[in-house]
Amino acid sequence: MTLNRRGFLGTIAATGAVLAAPAVLGQTKPRVVVIGGGAGGATCARYLARDSDGAIDVTLVEPAEVYYTCFFSNLYIGGFREFESLAHRYDKLTGEHGITHARAMAEGVDRDAGTVTLAGGEVLAYDRLVIAPGIDFVEGSVPGWDLSRAEIMPHAYKAGPQTQILKSQVEAMPEGGTFCMVAPPNPYRCPPGPYERISMVAHVLKARNPTAKILLVDPKDKYSKQALFEEGWEKHYSGMITRIGPDFGAANVEVRPDAMEVVIDGEVEKVDVCNVIPAQKAGMIAEAAGVTDDKGWAPVNPHSMASRADPRVFVLGDASAQGDMPKSGFSANSQAKVAAMVIRSELTGSKAFPAKYSNTCWSLIDTDDGVKVGASYEATDEKIASVDSFISQTGEDADLRKATYEESLGWYAGITADIFG
């Protein structure tokens, strides 16, 4: 029995992708520019360079020298990880895979000319462009808050100094004080992220400041892994956490950073720490490239991750609007592999295979109490559609929860090696 590839080719061809037609015949090496060296961009750059064996010229545009993962940054806040354990550098990508790291912000994209302009004025030409800038915040989504207030009321939703600020604020809270989180509306990066954070803050306060209170102001009716978090909060942090949902006015919230006040539906609350996670949209450069929709995200072709607006531009990770996949590091990594496979086939004529995606998100509720949720996905013409899923159950025994946590450590080691080499 041999493999029958006709079926695979059929699927891809039907999507209208350019198949096995080296786009740059006769020219020097085909060039791919990747904007953003996070979970999506770095994975895509690495797979393109590694699997094409040097046949594609890959430039990664990323201003930072060190990338701090948002994933596991909550565990740093909880005291389960060192800050430095979140740090990843690009030396394997440049050293082992010959990727060029352009250390600058991309400021503009000229899709007709096929060029990207960097903050220093440098212009890079591309045959294919990958945009993976993560998220930016929607201005004015939490009245009273903007980025200039982020040192007083941190978002800590892009990891790095923001995460450190939030952690030190939590640790410095006065005895019996109040920690407040303003949670974001859908869609946003890492659906269980805010609730894992609440758990980690509670873990710290339970040990250091057990009479402190946590106020969760949440504009959503329901949220990811809700039953699991609620069970865990009751078990480990009983009486500490109060969630105010939209039925009590949480959709109508304003903050006053100077006074350290949160106004919920007209009611003024004095708080000691306020973690504001605003509404989100695709990273700015996606909009500058003209590939976003009116909601601020970039629609893509589910079979390839190519932009609906331009088949030579691919959008990965949080910035993309693809359908059912949550905005997670796992998803971004999964999407990047599909895009790299498609781009290689378009530029070098390598084989194309049908798109396959999956995601698993672990969350830590307390020491050795880990839970997970995951799904697998397939591409339909309309969207990336969920086909199968699972979630941890309430009432699981302690051994299984501990094993789930240990798995998440294995995943972190695995995925960061897969992203950064």
């Binding site: 592999k337 295979f353 086909v387």
Partner: protein, 239 residues
């Protein structure tokens, strides 16, 4: 998705179960008397009976219905412990698969026993083991599903040639969790396995014989060609 391949597999497994069922006396698991002789293969490491103690391997009294790696006073491998924690319980079905190839359930098992290929001999041995369980009468003489065990995957599935390029693409999905370097932190290593063991392990998840929600989902949508391609890729992967 898994469409063509999995329908095929289900069909073939059904065929196998039909054949298996007629090849053996339908009313009994097997012949316990023969099983006592085959037990000689196990007796170097295991004890069974009223006086049994743990030896190189754990004592096997009352093995039916026991959780894998379930004796508190035996030092099991990490791999079998994980299987137990995930919920593997010893039944006709799971024991049959374990004895056929211990690596189906636990790659890193310390039971260095190559496996018993002959389904008839396994059935006899299971009948023997059943006599030493706490309530043999509660264990069905012949569970209809007992014959539907993975090691009976038709040889052409085990022998499928994997396409390395396809394997490489498929494997990228696995490497979000399983490290290409073979490192083993919290998630087991899957590199450099004999291809057949790999195929068996994946089918054990696919058929939900081996519990674990992530792996059941991952394996559940793979066709047999895809599993073969993955086995071939990981079998030689070194970094």
């Amino acid at each position: 998705m898994a469409g063509r391949g999995s329908i095929n597999l289900a069909f073939r497994l059904a065929l196998v179960s039909a054949l298996g069922a007629t090849a053996l006396p339908a009313a009994e698991i097997g012949d316990a008397g023969n099983g006592a002789v085959i037990w000689g293969d196990c007796a170097g490491c295991h004890e069974i009976g009223p006086e049994a103690k743990n030896a190189i391997g754990p004592k096997l009294n009352g093995i039916f219905g026991r959780r894998a790696a379930g004796l508190p006073d035996f030092d099991y491998s990490k791999s079998l412990t994980r299987a137990g924690r995930d919920g593997v319980v010893w039944t006709l079905e799971t024991l049959d698969a374990y004895i056929a190839n211990p690596r189906t359930f636990a790659s890193g098992t310390r039971m260095s026993y190559p496996g018993l290929d002959d389904p008839g001999k396994r059935a006899d041995l299971l009948a023997f083991l059943r006599d030493f369980s706490d309530r043999p009468r509660d264990i069905p003489e012949a569970a209809p599903t007992a014959r539907r065990t993975l090691p009976e995957l038709p040889p052409d599935i085990l022998a499928l040639q994997g396409d390395p390029e396809f394997g490489e693409y498929l494997a990228s999905e696995c490497q979000a969790c399983h490290q290409a370097s073979g490192a083993d932190e919290g998630i087991p290593s899957i590199t450099l396995w004999p291809e057949e063991n790999f195929v068996l392990a994946m089918h054990a998840y696919k058929q939900k014989l081996r519990p674990h929600p992530v792996m059941q989902m991952m394996a559940g949508r793979l066709t047999e060609e895809e599993i073969a391609a993955l086995a071939a890729y990981f079998a030689t992967l070194t970094e």
